[in-house]
């Protein structure tokens, strides 16, 4: 009996101690809330790279000057092991921020499935943002299957290919080839003259990690299919002919030993290969590490190649594009404050200009190529011109919640075995299609 009484006493003591802690914390919060008088603090997770953090910190500081009642705390999103896992862990632990950027359509679809995101189009101010930011066309591709908009796209990179024009000139070319057979022909000439060089050095081609397909398969497929969708809702709607042609092109390159799948350090920059996938983020690295690489002297930029017989104008490509979301976990008051902040940022094109200058990533607006402000900037940065011009031709990633499985299967069943010479293009496409249809059931 004594023992029971003792245990109860200990439990009560512990409980009262904990309760005491709780009271003091909540009292503190209440006190601070009262003193600050309706100051709402929202957490903003910026992409884990310094330029994007710089931009958002600057925006938060400037916003504090015009609206002292909304405080925006900008911090980098956790990226260990990945930013997606960091967000998932925060959501699971109930510690999600109010807003975060760096969200792809596929990941957003997963979050939407889990009811973790606020439909932005249901919030006051959404239409104003779309209108004042001049993004009526761009935003259309971002509509989700349920008809809502959950992501505000921030930037849109129409992914391009870079060619070592200095080496191509040595082979008798003044511009890069545009069709599959022209590329194979160039590859053969390259191997003849430089047996140690490769057309494309890309170890990702034998790696099945889902996101690697954005920068090889989808670039080529979007071009070959003229932007035909791959998945619509829960249906596989890919263009079979274009898909097989894409894989056949990879197969032909591998058969002619034009692809290096070994990991190599900066193969394009060092001239081991003459062709590479490139995003605008590369130019800052080149500026510091490879200043000898100069546009139209050592390299040129081009849209993806297309199958023989297809028009080489207005070629489609993959859009590496990410956006900003508001989390459903935060309070309605914070969600509203977040919307106010976003509205303020995008009400002024100068802020998008700042973004462009700081990050090199083209803002997801319809007028990047026509607005005088952006046009002047692009004149001084010709390497970004084609990116801006290609925004209308850039196809965003698939928005299916099973994007990870689907893109892993594209690697495992199609791209990887074709490049390794294990299956032919037609069989690889059929195997992949069957496997993806199984996942979509």
């Amino acid at each position: 009996m004594k023992k029971i009484a003792k245990s109860i006493l200990i439990l009560l003591l512990a409980a009262s101690l904990l309760a005491g802690c709780g009271t003091s914390t909540s009292q503190k919060n209440e006190a601070s809330q009262t003193t600050k008088e309706k100051v709402i603090t929202i957490d903003f997770w910026a992409a884990p790279n310094p330029p994007q953090q710089t931009f958002w910190k600057q925006m938060a500081e400037e916003y504090a000057k015009v609206n002292p009642y909304i405080k925006v705390n900008v911090s980098p999103m956790p990226e260990s092991p990945t930013s997606e896992a960091g967000i998932q862990a925060a959501l699971a632990g109930g510690n999600a921020p109010t807003i975060s950027e760096n969200i792809s359509r596929g990941f957003a679809a997963q979050l939407v499935d889990s009811k973790a995101l606020v439909p932005l189009d249901t919030m006051d101010g959404w239409n104003d943002i779309v209108k004042t930011r001049n993004m009526e066309n761009t935003i259309q591709a971002w509509e989700f299957a349920d008809g809502h908009q959950y992501v505000l796209p921030i930037y849109s990179n129409a992914m391009l290919f870079a060619w070592r024009i200095d080496i191509l000139k040595q082979l008798g070319y003044n511009e890069p080839p545009k069709t599959y057979s022209q590329i194979i022909e160039l590859g053969k000439k390259l191997k003849e003259k430089y047996p140690d060089k490769y057309l494309w050095a890309n170890p990702d081609l034998i790696d099945s990690t889902w996101w690697k397909r954005w920068f090889d398969f989808f670039m080529l497929y979007d071009a070959a299919s003229n932007g035909n969708k791959f998945i619509e809702g829960n249906n596989f709607v890919a263009d079979d002919k274009a898909g097989v042609a894409t894989l056949k092109f990879l197969e032909d390159m591998a058969k002619n030993k034009l692809i290096l799948t070994q990991k190599a350090t900066d193969p394009f920059e060092t001239g081991i290969s003459v062709w590479t996938t490139i995003g605008p983020w590369t130019f800052n690295t080149w500026k510091d590490k490879y200043p000898e690489l100069k546009l139209n002297e050592t390299y040129v930029l081009a849209l993806p190649p297309v199958p023989d017989g297809m028009s080489t104008d207005n070629v489609k490509t993959f859009a590496d594009t990410k956006g900003l979301v508001i989390y459903a976990q935060s309070s309605p008051e914070k969600q509203k404050a977040a919307m106010e902040f976003i509205k303020w940022v995008y009400s002024n094109p100068e802020n998008d200009m700042k973004w462009f200058e700081i990050t090199n990533l083209p803002p997801a607006r319809d007028d990047v190529n026509t607005n005088e402000q952006f046009k002047n900037y692009l004149k001084d940065h010709p390497e970004l011109q084609l990116y801006a011009e290609s925004i209308p031709n850039a196809i965003p990633p698939i928005d299916n919640a099973k994007f990870n499985d689907i893109q892993t299967l594209i690697g495992q069943k199609a791209v990887n075995p074709v490049v390794a010479g294990q299956v032919d293009a037609q069989k690889a496409w059929d195997d992949m299609k069957k496997a993806i249809q199984g996942v979509l059931k």
Binding site: P81, T82, E84, A85, Q88, L91, A92, Q110, L111, D113, S114, K115, A116, A201, P203, I206, D207, S208, T209, W210, L260, T261, Q262, K263, A264, T265, P267, T270, I272, N404, D405
Partner: protein, 292 residues
Amino acid sequence: MKKGQEKLGWLFASPYLVYSLIFFVIPLFGALFLSFTNWNLISPQYENVGFLNFIQAVKSPGVKAAFFVTYKFMIIFVPMVLIGSLVISLIINSLPRFKSFFSVGYFLPYLASGVATSVVVKGILSYNSALNVWLRNTWHLNIDWLGSQILAPLIIAVMISWKFMGYYSLILTSGLESIPGEVYEAAAIDGATGWIKFFKITLPLLYPAMFTVTILAVGLVFGIFTEPYVLTGGGPGFSTNTWQIEIYNQAFSKLNAGYGSAIAIIDSVVTFVTIIIVRKLLEIWGKSYGWE
């Protein structure tokens, strides 16, 4: 034991017990619960799917690969690390001075970040590294180190062995130091030479330490993640796909937390059974030589 002493014992053990409760027991039951659901940790809706996750896991090529890859790593890694740490400890033990200095030297790789060492190794093995350029120019050898299903696991096993040899050698060195010098002196009087001393005295008396190191090394194989994740991502063709990579991919990359938990439960059962088997085999082997 007196009542007061018993309480003192509980008091001293309590930090570890609380730690185990928070970081082991609760998560274990949490994982067990999750493994029977299709919950992704963030969705408000989920269903109880019974044993579906386990059935799916057993059939999955990724899990099958993880199962066999672990034993492949074990076959390469355990003998390599055992022999290596034994050699290091014998060298350190035979040193007349600066034993601690060298022990710390060999221990340092254990403190190195797996990510950092993997990045360095990736650089060394890249197509245009000095090593590969030399191999191509001198011997016309173009080796795809990390693209080979045979070489990639071997390289990872060597890296992990290098990392753990110094750590395990500390355990073995303390085992060697605990062998009384008189035993060697008596053997010398009986005419025993170097190798006979090693096989008849050192090895049998070092058996408990070797036993510990072997069990630790076997357990370690089930937790390999960083090196294959950074170097090969589990490839080529699943040849380095470990349990941890599979669990990570399912739970954190594909948000299939329930399915990932089922894999983790299977992994823990396989680990437990393997360690029990290895332990029994070691005991039988030790007894047959009269080392126990």
